[in-house]
Amino acid sequence: MDNKVKVVPRYGSSFKDRLYLPAIYQGMKITFKHLVGNAADSNAVDTLEYPEEQPTDITDRYRGLHRLTHRQDDTIACVACFMCATACPADCIFIEATEREDGEDEKMPKRFAIDTLECVFCGYCVEACPCDAIRMDTGIFSLTGNSREDFVLEKDQLLAHKGAFGEEKSRARK
């Protein structure tokens, strides 16, 4: 275990850091730069007229709505191992496992649902998945519905979500 521990240096104890004033000055410099710039030209204000204007700066690291990925043969990649449900701090992933009959592995989810109202979008499920079967790279940042049930995304909905950044299939499954 010892050889895996990395000692990270602790910052912030120098005289300059403990004065705080240089850091405050740095921050205020940016604030005033924007204040002066925006006051001079109100058209250059860096805001977005949502929802007419949609954000264009969503990166592939953005944790959007979840999706379930496919294998190369377009079947579900998930094997219902419950790693995501185990890792989930909000306990919002509901899986029922069943036998998989097509000869690939043995197990697949009969039901796979995420209650997005309970979800905290931490991305632990993505981290935990050994099959690259769940991802949050859809780029979808808003979900609307008329009832609480609308926000419980079932397997079919999660499989229908597309990856927004080019990677369509699971990279861990054949």
């Binding site: 219902a80 191992c81 306990d91 043995e106 050994p130 099959c131």
Partner: protein, 463 residues
């Protein structure tokens, strides 16, 4: 055999001379990995995992086949012995499919445990180069076999050879091609077959009944006693309450008790958990209509007051002793005669010479000790109050109040729901007179009253 002193990891232990070293290690919780050794099956010495260093011996020795000698000095730790174990583990794992995500054993698998304790090496073999065998073979008797996951410890084959003496399982092939199998066309078929699932240290033998129903790390184990017969085999009730659902039992597992059942239980007892959550009586039912608790209590009082002639109370001999005592006091209080007929529970076909008793009532001995009448009452009763007795319909009575756990085919004047044994706590006395306490395992979202809870309410309603 005489007692002798041995030194293990610089500590002194007293043990019987000539007993197995591994038993001493297990007894004192000294960590030693092993697959093939099992207290019930004895030493086989094939897995080679339990290597220890013994002073004066050239090479590491297996603890499971080493007899304790006077003045032995043993080391179970140290770089040398750990590298030996790591290499043996790597050999065991060399063709392992590493499909833990879809394996039901994951979480209680010895391969996983030992890999985390002693392995942590990088694999030398590519997934594509591994030798493949058959997966998910239905062996019969609710047992699934995955030959790839097997470490060839031969616990299962020794169980069928030495304990059930049915000889269904064997290891065929040599080297990389060795695998567990049944004879062609034959199935695993004996009333204790599912014990091989518990015996299997890895995911090679898994239960078809439990298959994919839960991951084991979600389960809570509560110790209890099987109610299948008067033998009183010790079990663990493995249960879980999933979010937004009710608490559910997923399996029974045997619990070691040398005085009663050793390490095993019969398949019928193991699968008896299903009956605890199927077809349950949950509603209070008066003359065929569902009624509220207050109405039920009112109806009870009215029926009791209006009773003409003798009152008979029937108690199920499966109830806990505390419950039987409470019913006895209750029967005396209302001036009724108490019976706990055992006739229904005689089942000679069920019995064998090991863990199955022809007495199917779990607490028949307690009934005997409490001197409750065990015959079926023949006289006609004015009022019959039955506490879950299956023979209630056979007794002639003008009015019947039935407390029952399961929905029956007979309709009574007043039917009230009753908790099953997993939802209650109490003592069972098995046929040999051994008293065993069972704590409450299951707490339903909407609890069903136990016998004691009903009697407390009824007494309150009386006044």
């Amino acid at each position: 055999m005489s007692q002798t002193e041995v030194v293990i990891d610089d500590k002194r232990f007293v043990a019987k001379e000539g007993s197995l070293l591994i038993d001493l290690l297990i007894k004192h919780n000294l960590k030693v990995p092993y697959f093939c050794y099992h207290e019930a099956l004895g030493a086989d010495g094939n897995c080679r995992m339990c290597m220890v260093e013994i002073e004066g011996q050239k090479r590491p020795q297996i603890a499971c086949d080493t007899l304790i000698k006077e003045g032995m000095v043993v080391r179970t730790k140290g770089e040398n012995i750990e590298s030996v174990r790591r290499n043996i583990l790597e050999l065991e794992l060399i063709n392992h499919p590493v499909d833990c995500p879809i394996c039901d054993q994951a979480g209680e698998c010895k391969l996983q445990d030992f890999y985390m304790d002693y392995g942590l090496y990088d694999s030398h073999i590519d997934q594509a180069d591994k030798v493949h065998h058959q997966k998910h073979i239905d062996l019969g008797s609710n047992v699934m076999l995955d030959q790839e996951r097997c470490v060839l410890c031969a616990r299962c084959t020794r169980f069928t050879a030495d304990i059930t003496k049915t000889h269904e399982l064997g290891i065929i092939g040599r080297g990389d091609h060795a695998r567990v199998s049944t004879m062609p066309g034959k199935k695993l078929d004996n009333p204790y077959a599912m014990n091989v699932v518990d015996l299997c240290p890895v995911g090679a033998l898994t239960s078809k009944d439990f298959r994919f129903s839960q991951r084991v790390w979600f389960l809570t184990s509560t110790p209890s006693v099987c109610h299948g017969c008067a033998k009183g085999c010790n079990i663990f009730i493995d249960h879980n309450r999933e979010k937004y659902k009710d608490e559910t039992i997923y399996r029974f597992r045997p619990r070691e008790n040398q005085a009663v059942n050793g390490y095993f239980i019969c398949d019928e007892g193991r699968l008896s958990y299903k009956a605890l959550q199927e077809n349950r009586q949950v509603e209070r039912d008066r003359n065929g209509a569902v009624c509220s608790e207050a109405e039920a209590l009112k109806a009870y009082c009215k029926t009791l007051e209006g009773a003409k002639g003798e009152i008979i109370v029937l108690a199920d001999p499966n109830l806990y002793r505390e419950e039987l005592v409470a019913i006895e006091a209750y029967a005396a209080h209302i001036g009724a005669s108490l019976y706990a007929p055992l006739e229904h529970y005689r089942d000679e076909d069920f019995a064998d010479d090991w863990l199955k008793s022809s007495q199917r009532a779990a607490n028949a001995k307690a009934v005997e000790i409490l001197e409750i009448k065990t015959t079926l009452p023949v006289e006609k009763a004015g009022l019959l109050i039955s506490f879950n007795h299956p023979d209630a319909a056979q007794i002639k009575a003008e009015k019947v109040i039935s407390f029952q756990t399961h929905i029956g085919k007979d309709a009574y004047d007043l039917t009230l729901p009753l908790a099953v044994f997993s939802e209650s706590a109490g003592t069972l006395v098995n046929e040999e007179g051994i008293e065993q306490y069972c704590p409450r395992a299951i707490k339903r979202n909407e609890p069903i009253p136990t016998v004691i809870e009903w009697l407390t309410q009824i007494e309150g309603g009386d006044k």
